[in-house]
């Protein structure tokens, strides 16, 4: 446990040091929310209809931004070897790294998401649900993104590979999350898509550390 916290602290410090941590994803999200009405036109009714879906697409894209920095630097500077030689199983290391990724991008985005969605015209009463779905979706994005980043290690054009691997995996949470908010706003049952989103996020959290550890071992050998 002491070692898990030690590693988490280091990962958070590194995430802050490279690319300003949460600022990059937040900046991207904010800029996109500001620009969307400019490109769609200012009619509130039209914006409100796409608000939930657009916010979710932006969340997914914002969480893609820093993925190529999750494992690649460790692989190149030898830190991955040191992590493998450490006392914890590599699966635990992978989970901690993904959790750090979530804390640095997913959690701040979950706080920004309601503001963005409401600014686009979502009902203010949906703010809590937007934040809750964004937090869960962000968890899925961080862990699945970590799997994509680890699989792309040691390959040329890794950034492109990550996007190709990860985007299809990010589609289900975008569908479930957008549907939960849409249903809530139009008075339909929203718990079903929300539960599916939660199930998807938890499955990703539980399974991807094994895939990440295997991919890292393979890349290091």
């Amino acid at each position: 446990m002491r070692l898990l916290i030690l590693l988490l602290n280091r990962e958070l410090a590194l995430a802050w040091a490279r690319g300003g941590g949460p600022l990059l994803a937040m900046g991207f999200f904010t800029a996109a929310v500001v620009m969307l009405p400019l490109s769609l036109g200012p009619e509130p009714a039209r914006l409100a209809r796409v608000a939930a879906g657009a916010a979710w697409v932006l969340l997914a894209l914002a969480s893609l931004l820093s993925l190529d920095r999750m494992f690649e630097p460790d692989f190149e500077d030898g830190a991955l070897d040191l992590l493998i030689l450490g006392p914890l199983p590599l699966e635990a290391v992978a989970a901690v790294k993904c959790l750090a990724q979530w804390l640095v991008t997913g959690a701040p985005l979950a706080l920004a998401a309601p503001i963005g969605a409401i600014a686009l015209g979502a009902k203010p009463s949906s703010a809590v649900l937007v934040a809750a779905t964004a937090a869960l979706g962000g968890l899925a994005f961080a862990f699945l993104g970590g799997a994509g980043a680890a699989l792309a290690l040691a390959s040329r054009r890794g950034g492109l590979l990550i996007a190709v691997i990860v985007l299809p995996l990010l589609t289900p949470p975008v569908i479930f999350g957008g549907a939960a908010i849409d249903n809530f706003q139009s008075g339909l049952p929203w718990l079903t898509p929300y539960s599916l989103l939660a199930a998807y996020a938890l499955a990703a959290t539980a399974l991807t550390p094994f895939a990440i550890a295997a991919a890292c071992r393979n890349a290091a050998s």
Binding site: L6, L14, A79, D81, L85, P87, S221
Partner: protein
């Protein structure tokens, strides 16, 4: 505590190419072995095989301890130090923070990390970011981990190359103490180690 490492009929591959085969050797506690060989002969790969990072093409590495055979997992997690050209030190972080993490991660504690830094003349550098350290200072920082966390098997990839004469002598002294305490050293070198060592030629 490891008492011996046995390399049994190892063949090692890098990419599609077999670097060497039929390498057998036994290193016992208190012994230093210098791996020599031309560039690209497979010295670094052999160190990574012993550390359990890379699988050999054929053959095996066996670890023996006072309690009998030691599994690869346990050896990797508790007994091996690997210091190579890629030291895993993050250039944006402070040297002291990186040393503290590496030492605690490999089973040492902060008091020993400070002692090791003092021994290697790093105390005044610990506040600086790793980025501004010279190659030799950076290598000394990486070596401080060896002294501060108690792991018996040191796998060193050209440990002396960036060090100045004084630091080489000092590190020779430190290696001597490690051997006297029952440690094992396997070092890939081009220049002779500053202490008596058995030579194993790789890829000849």
């Amino acid at each position: 505590m490891i008492t011996a490492v046995a390399l049994e009929d190892l063949a090692v591959q890098r990419g599609e190419r077999v670097l060497f085969s039929k390498l057998s050797a036994r290193i016992v506690a208190g012994e230093a072995v210098a791996l020599t060989g031309a560039n690209g002969a497979g010295k670094t790969t052999l160190l990574r095989v012993v550390a359990g990072l890379t699988a050999p093409l054929t053959g095996a590495v066996a670890f023996e301890s006072a309690q009998g055979k030691l599994s690869h997992e346990d050896a990797r997690r508790e007994a091996c130090h690997l210091v190579g050209h890629q030291d895993g030190l993050k250039s944006a972080r402070r040297a002291g923070a990186e040393l503290a993490f590496q030492v605690r991660w490999t089973g040492g504690d902060l008091a020993r990390a400070e002692d090791a830094a003092a021994r290697l003349g790093l105390t005044r550098l610990l506040q600086l970011p790793v980025r501004v350290l010279s190659a030799g200072q950076r290598r000394r920082l990486a070596l401080a981990r060896l002294i501060a966390s108690p792991r018996p098997l040191w796998l060193l990839d050209e440990p002396l190359s960036p060090l100045d004469a004084d630091s080489r002598a000092l590190f020779g002294e430190i290696m001597g103490e490690h051997l006297a305490g029952g440690g094992l050293i396997l070092a890939a070198v081009h220049d002779p180690l500053p202490l008596p060592a058995r030579e194993i030629r790789v890829g000849a």
